[in-house]
Symmetry: C2
Subunit: 343 residues, 2 copies
């Protein structure tokens, strides 16, 4: 969808004709014609990690000149598979767009998913430079920010930012199993956030985790050590009372604060692709509409809007998300119209 | 703020005059006058768990007839403290509104925070029935749904839905500590969700966790057992390869699916207080404004708005959140105006 919107000629193939047809209907590209196939410049393999290497090798054999990339979320095991396949691996450059939704498949697709997000490009020792350039161009064309990493660096990074958070989410959700209904009924936003990833596809994630076993184990051991420290502190507190063990609890919580502070853009809920402008609005019907009418009249597209307002206050705050280039024009237009902007 | 909006007479006290003044300015209630104090019907103690029992006991001694409740997030340790204080505990009924924000304090307050959320009321063996009724009325007055539990049931429930998710979030965030900047820069929405709670106040949470040590330990041991099973599976996979260990990974992920499915309202991101109406809108400047202008003209207040739209599609979806009573009028009004509503 993103490439077709940029006027690239995209041909779609999928083992499921239903999925391929739906992708075509959503504007993602064309199905292969009945005539002789035209060799593509780039083949993008989107397949589960345990079969990605085979599909890449197949594409390298099928097209003599095409650059082939894959978007599997583990890179070293795919690379080892491709190098071991005997295919012409100089035309292979792995990659991993760091985006996704909990639900997968064509029906969950969005053409703007890559906008402003990281796309890791993973050249290997024998990748041809022009092949690396092609894959970088592909990522840039859909609005992503290219990052170059080795397969090993990539896998260690995603272990920490994707795979261990996934497992932690599943483990916390699993611990609800033995609780009575009345207890689970008390679930609030915190539990929902922590367990959002736990609604994953277990088959796909078993493959992802086993494809990145060593890197995931390193980060998990770190978590396990901290969990043991908390359990020991709680045991001590329960058995002997006293304040000695509070330090160990506090240490883990403070380390969590410090880790959070390292996450870029953590303060602010919008995806990194958008910038937020906060505007003070009267808390009354029609006020938000007036604001948005004026933003629309200024030719600015609102990507998202979040309202903060409470009963008993005469005003609320509208947090307007726009693409970065529109943030300053928006601030200027609203200031001219006497809206109060918060910094 | 919620009680004042319902025309209850609220008197504010706080050790910090700044906090008390700000609360008054935000419309939460009045500061104590200079004349003789009027005995309140209900005293609500909002204090950290390690001092809550003392403040409750003090209030029971200071007012001869008032019902006293506290809103600390652990209940058994507060109850034990109150019963041991020698104060007239028959007028004490613990409680815990199951709401909150990551940031605390008067500046983060909202009058509609309790609307549609659970408020656990925790009578003890010697609570006077009329005192229990008063506290139930208090919770109902601010729009909360009352749940009755014993202190022990409450503490076991919050260990699973609040305290262990908090620790898991902190532990995952802490594991980012040793990662290079390039790795942490790959953080996406999943990591942000899992670590949102980790931006907590370590001092407050050390108190909360130590105040609920036994119940938290039970749930944490469950998590620790599953984490050990994953580590063993990864060790086996790395050392010997083979498919034997995949079953253990899959079991944990499936248990996570099952746990998630038990969380009420998990499918749907809005707080339970609001109902969502999804409307198809053209993806062009001004369309959302037109929609909101018409909603405002119908006298309906929009509580939140989320837009789903992608480049390459001619339309988007506006998810409009309103209070439950406004959902049907909104659907009717929009249908009459020829907007397309999604079910």
């Amino acid at each position: 969808m993103a490439l077709s919107a940029k006027r690239f000629a995209v041909t779609l193939e999928d083992p499921s004709p239903t999925a391929a047809n739906l992708a075509r209907d959503l504007g993602a590209g064309a199905l292969p014609g009945t005539g002789p196939a035209i060799e593509p410049a780039v083949v993008v393999v989107a397949a589960p990690p345990d079969v990605a290497a085979d599909v890449v090798a197949d594409a390298l054999g099928r097209w003599e000149h095409a650059v082939v990339t894959d978007v599997a979320s583990v890179k070293e095991s795919v690379l080892v598979g491709v190098l071991g396949s005997g295919a012409e691996a100089t035309r292979y450059v792995g990659s991993h767009p760091m985006v996704g939704r909990v639900r997968s498949g064509v029906a969950a697709s969005r053409g703007d998913l890559f906008h402003g997000r990281a796309w890791v490009v993973v050249p290997h020792r024998t990748s041809r430079p022009d092949a690396v350039v092609r894959v970088r161009q592909l990522a840039a064309a859909v609005g992503a920010a290219v990052r170059i990493m080795s397969a090993r660096e990539h896998d260690a990074a995603v272990a920490a930012v994707l795979h261990v958070p996934q497992l932690a989410s599943s483990i916390v959700a699993a611990s609800l199993h033995d609780r009575p209904d009345e207890a689970v009924a008390l679930a609030g936003q915190g539990l929902r956030d922590v367990t959002r990833l736990a609604e994953c596809d277990p088959r796909l994630w078993t493959q992802i985790l086993s494809g990145n076993a060593a890197a995931a184990r390193d980060v998990l051991r770190d978590c396990s050590d901290r969990l043991d420290a908390v359990l020991t502190a709680l045991d001590t507190l329960i058995d002997r009372g006293g304040e000695d063990s509070l330090g160990a609890l506090s240490t883990v919580l403070e380390a969590g604060n410090a880790g959070c502070a390292r996450i870029p853009g953590k303060h602010g809920a919008a995806p990194t692709a958008y910038r937020e402008v906060s505007v003070v609005v009267p808390d009354e019907p029609g006020a938000i509409a007036r604001l948005l009418t004026q933003i629309g009249a200024a030719g600015i597209n609102v990507e998202d809007l979040h309202l903060e307002h409470g009963h008993g206050r005469p005003f609320g705050i509208a947090v307007v998300s726009v693409v970065p280039a529109a943030a300053e024009p928006l601030r200027g237009a609203l200031t001219n119209l006497s809206w109060r902007i918060l910094d």
